[in-house]
Amino acid sequence: MTIFKRINGFWLSMVLAIVFFIVVQLLISRGILNSFYINTLFYMAINIILAVSLHLIIGITGQFSIGHAGFLAVGAYASAVMTMKLQMPFSLALLAGGVTAAVAGLLIGIPTLRLKGDYLAIATLGFGEIVRIILLNVDYVGGASGMTVTHLTTWPWVFACMLIAIIVIANFTNSTHGRACISIREDEIAADSMGINTTYYKVTAFVIGSFFAGIAGGLYAHNFYIIQPTNFGFLKSFDILIFVVLGGLGSMSGAVIAAILLTVVSTFLQEYPETRMIIYSIVLILVMLYRPKGLLGTQELTSFFRLRKAVEGGKQNDNKHTVA
């Protein structure tokens, strides 16, 4: 019974996603959507990638990283160098952006993930600043004036990357590996004593998260005509952090919804950046004071439709389907 419901749930959402993709693609190619809406859609998808990638690090693994813009920057610059300096195709550039960011994640993750809570937060913040300062000082990538980048990001690219990011992170989460990460979030010492290699999983989650942040960076860079170190400061990290916190730490659908909502809000407030920041910060403070678990808490959107509130349960069902 429920077996087919679950499976259908997955394929149903895939079909919906593809229908949505085709509709938007048609609207774009027919010229019905103007560039303002197209841009907002692109931006939304990029923000969703960033949100789910940070969600894996903070929401699932419980590692409080506040330097995510650093990985975005690494991915953006690496991919821009690929296309602009080395004349590589966009696909390779995106991949290179992801891989470079993942390597950065590995290098920064191994030493710093031994730190806990506040200290980790500060170390990652420091990392983000270091990336920015390095970019500011390297003439090869234009220093403070930045790099001009050709516009290569298209709707199929953005959508495919977003879908892959969501599926990969959801699949990772809903497996023994994801459970290992959640157990670290819940109680690292107990996880360790249950035979979980905590360092390995913290670093893995960090690397996967950085990889997708890097991909997002590639899309971001090729969606604007210029990238500059100032695009990737602490405020950018903070923007991404808000998606995850507002959506509910531990809830992927929450992070996605928050990313969509806030992209819309900030698009409308584009003309008034100060007002936007004031609203953002007040919302953030109020959420922490009155609903610290965020929009959805650790729940997923789908669990509201199910009678049985299984966070991880039901995997057995998928099995039977493949076995049968």
């Binding site: 990969v168 497996s175 109680d187 004593s193 035979g195 979980i196 966070v311 991880e312 099995n319 493949t322």
Partner: protein, 259 residues
């Protein structure tokens, strides 16, 4: 049952924090199948000793040997995989995870499917997850926790949380189980049930158990041998009968005993 080779041998084990000697010269031997008590007044170093055995701390002197493998310096997760698992004095469950998932985590080290196979959902992922799930459910049935399977662990009543923590520790397939004050905070009825449970699992899984307990009468009732720690040193060792009449033990507990 008892053979001559000890399952676990702690040889002159000690640890220093800064200048402070928390434990020194502790010698303990556990033989397969034994149920051993470790008692002592508050602050005697009992939990610290558990932390040494499980790798949370590394001993600054002496050696700890399980079977014929030295455990010194191994990280906790490796020690667990070698066959020592534990519960905690202050329950440490994965609160937001379901009861079932708590047990599944303990089966993690048995999983053979890789991260990649989970991400792209290869058949090995499904079979691996299925195996874990089946084993975990089986296990919960033994502990009569299957009714709470999909509850969040943090929502269980206290007694059931203790039960779940023991189940989780056992699911990691230990040869040696360390229980840190499992009866703390329980009423007499619950304590009695717990003792029956311990006797049951020991029988069923052919385990060696080392039990820290504050409640003297409880330890006296179930343990075959007892070690007594005080101020970081072993002051006595013997059968419950011997311990009960041991002058040093009486001295250490005088005015200390909590009943």
């Amino acid at each position: 049952m008892t053979t001559n080779t000890p399952l676990l041998k702690a040889d002159h084990v000690g640890i220093q924090f800064g200048g402070l000697k928390a434990l020194s010269d502790v010698n303990i031997e556990l033989y397969p199948g034994e149920l051993i008590g470790l008692i002592g007044p508050n602050g005697a170093g009992k939990t610290t000793f558990f932390n040494l055995l499980t790798g949370v701390y590394e001993p600054t002197e002496g050696s700890i040997v399980l079977g014929n493998e030295k455990l010194n310096g191994l990280p906790p997760y490796k020690i667990t995989r070698k066959g020592i698992s534990r519960t905690f004095q202050n329950i440490r469950l994965f609160g937001e995870l379901s009861v079932l998932d708590n047990v599944k985590v303990a089966y993690h080290s048995l999983a053979r499917h890789s991260i990649l196979s989970s991400i792209i959902r290869l058949p090995s992922h499904f079979s691996g997850e299925k195996e874990i799930e089946e084993k975990a459910i089986e296990f919960l049935k033994i502990f009569k926790l299957e009714g709470f399977m999909y509850e969040k662990a943090k929502n269980l009543p206290y007694g059931q949380q203790r039960r779940l923590e023991i189940a989780r520790a056992l699911a990691a397939h230990p040869k040696l189980l360390l229980l840190d004050e499992p009866a703390a905070g329980m009423n007499p009825q619950e304590t009695k049930e717990l003792m029956n449970l311990i006797a049951f699992i020991r029988e069923k899984f052919n385990l060696t158990i080392l039990l820290i307990e504050h409640d003297m009468s409880l330890v006296m009732g179930v343990c075959e041998r007892i070690y007594v720690l005080d101020h970081g040193q072993l002051i006595a060792h013997g059968t419950p009968e011997e311990i009960r009449n041991h002058p040093k033990v009486i001295e250490a507990y005088l005015g200390e005993e909590v009943s």
